[in-house]
Amino acid sequence: MRSAAAAIGWEFRRRHRWGLLALACYPIAMAILRMSGRKIHIDDEQSFAFVVAVPLTATFLYLVSVFSFGLSGDLSARRSIYPSRMFTLPVTNSALAGWPMLYGGVAVTILWAVTRLLALWPSGISVPVIWPALLAASLLAWTQALTWMPYALPGLRVIVTILWLAAIDAIIMIALNFKAGELVMLAILAPHVPLAYVTARYAIARARRGDEPDWRPLFRAAAPRRREHFPSPARAQTWLEWRQHGRSLPAAVAIVLPFELALLFLFRETPALVFEMLIVVLTTPPLLAVFAAATVSGSSLTKFIATRPMTSASLIAAKLKVTIASTLAAWLLVLVATPIALKLSGTWPLVIERVHRLAEVVGAPHAAIAMLLVFVALLATTWKQLVQSLYVGLSGREWLVKGSVFLALAIVAVIVPAAHWAMTNKALIALVWNAGGWILAIIVCLKLAAAASIAIRLYDKRLLSDRALVLGALLWSATVFAVYGVLAWTFPEVMIRRYVLALVAIVAVPLARLSAAPLALAWNRHR
């Protein structure tokens, strides 16, 4: 390597070769589809979304993470996420800013070119030629510039970047709304990359000379009071877990919720939209829990934590307690903020009226219990999202974490279009409906076999005491019975057979993956 440009490029290629190779599978699959000569039509929105839009967006986001160094940087910190080790290289700020920006720009341009050439576009739409590539390059360049900038407050980077990128998106949406042509779009987007480059160069210059303003003293209250000692190691560990990860979900809900509830004020004249917004609000904690789960299971088991005199099971127990507290805190925010927003927006009577109608139809006790059950189900789903992938992150194996993400994306990319296709095939629906019991039975057998295998390993390795294993099994059984009872109360036997409900209850309550968490942690802790 004879130049800084080649060295920087080599590092990107070398560090992310597997991810980039995996991403290459998508255009290859598209090319094979094209070359096969088969006529595949994707004229409906869902198929288009899952065959083109979702893979394209996921690939773009991955490239943004790679070329902005977001995969290794701390987005919430004040300091620049640009790797500080590169500041000591004998290269100019222009080179440090310019080469990653150029490589990233080329990568997203190729992504657009390949997608435009190979993707199956719905018939009758005119696919733009250049401006989407320029938009992608602009978004990437601004992400780089804004994330490389040092900030005066922790978390400010995320807010500034999101607001700025949302503003660019809004301008593009408005332009599209006015049916702007290719040239107009190019004119709108043309200044972005040069401006972002200048900003990035300034950001790197500041980061390089350690120019990091600090506004935290302005917000600092009186010195924190000293607290009493922890009564037990378990309490101390739970405190640490809460401080490290527990606040992620409530904080995310607290950030998103005001925007969602603000829409109630906009849509108050349209009852249908009000109820749609309420559904969005109620599904926000489980949805955000999917992302917060990554922080809870965080793969970095430090030596400091690993050398605490606690069993791996106790370390997991602290995490589980914190996930319960996180779930409750997130829902407390929803339960407090939503009625206030409904009241202030004047949409409260709409909701009350709908509740009265439900009570009239099914009776007041049934209506109350049904609403309570929906709430408990949402609460349980939020917690389940936080804990069900715990074992992956706690294993500390990067290949397992990346592999599980790719597997999940692959399943979504295959299952959703397949399910969409299946929904249009009545014979198949009838077949699946008739075989539903068998399918569930197979899933239950697999789940129980996995759980039994994990329980044997937990016992053999003495990771859980006999008492904990028996108590865990009893608690799981009691929960399954409770879920079965609720399902049996909700669905009459003429609609769904009881044994199917029992199988659904067994599938719904987490067991195998949750039990695998202590094994995964021990595997990571004692390598």
Binding site: P224, P233, A236, W239, L240, T302, P309, M310, R525, H526
Partner: protein, 244 residues
């Protein structure tokens, strides 16, 4: 009878094709300072990780106070104080929070001693760990490793990259620990003159094998050339040259 604090037998560890430890056998009785020396990549940290249970023995056995540190981490880690070069104490913690958190794990935690160490190391209780200098972080790590008077103190390159004043604090801690009856110190360092100052026994490791393990005086006597006793540095270089 002097029970072995650390008893390692036939310990072998491979990372892929590389053998990091090859049939290491070591027994450290109670109440002395053991210096663990060796070149970079010799296997010192790998050995210490086995002692702490952070690595599982692929072959052989590791027993600390008679317990397997992997099977029974609580029994081992509650009696071990550990300070490493990395010192990855969470940066968001304040010093008083670090002390409050750490004391929960050790019934023998001595509040008065912890406060004495904090004052001696000039650690501001309200300071966040991430705002401390490297030397102050090492002192904070030393504080929580010492405040419960562990039976075994494991120091893995603790003074690497630190100024002489912090290094003096660390050596002082080693000497103080030994002065208290029955305590044992395992001290891994590149700075051989430091090891020489405090170690009673020295274990030299090279290429994953123990090449020398004996009382320091015996090692020096066995390498004597004429009137002058060689320094540990000279002995180390002589062994390295012999190996090459």
């Amino acid at each position: 009878m002097s029970e072995s604090v650390i008893a390692i037998s036939g310990l072998t560890r491979r990372f892929g094709a590389k053998t990091a430890l090859a049939s290491v056998t070591l027994s450290l009785p109670r109440g002395a300072v053991y210096g663990l020396v060796g070149a970079n990549g010799a296997g010192k940290t790998t050995l210490i990780k086995h002692i702490l249970g952070l690595l599982r023995a692929q072959e052989g056995t590791v027993r600390i106070f008679g317990h397997d540190p992997v099977a029974d981490p609580v029994a081992v880690l509650s009696r071990v104080g550990y300070l490493s070069e990395e010192n990855d104490v969470p940066g968001w913690m304040r010093v008083h929070e670090l002390i409050r958190y750490s004391r929960a794990f050790y019934p023998a935690w001595d509040d008065a001693y912890a406060e004495e160490l904090r004052t001696m190391f000039a650690l501001d209780p309200m300071a966040k760990v991430k705002s401390l200098s490297k030397g102050q972080k090492a002192r904070a790590g030393l504080l929580i490793a010492l405040a419960y008077r562990p039976e075994l103190l494991v120091l893995d390159e603790p003074s690497s990259g630190l100024d002489p004043i912090v290094r003096r604090d660390i050596l002082g801690a080693v000497i103080r620990s030994v002065a208290e009856e029955g305590r044992t110190v395992l001290f891994s360092s590149h700075l051989l003159e430091e090891v020489e100052q405090v170690a009673d026994h020295v274990t030299m490791i090279s290429g994953g094998r123990i090449v020398v393990s004996a009382p320091l005086n015996e090692i020096k006597e066995s390498h004597r050339a004429g009137e002058r006793l060689p320094t540990l540095d000279e002995i180390f270089i002589a062994h390295a040259a012999k190996r090459n």
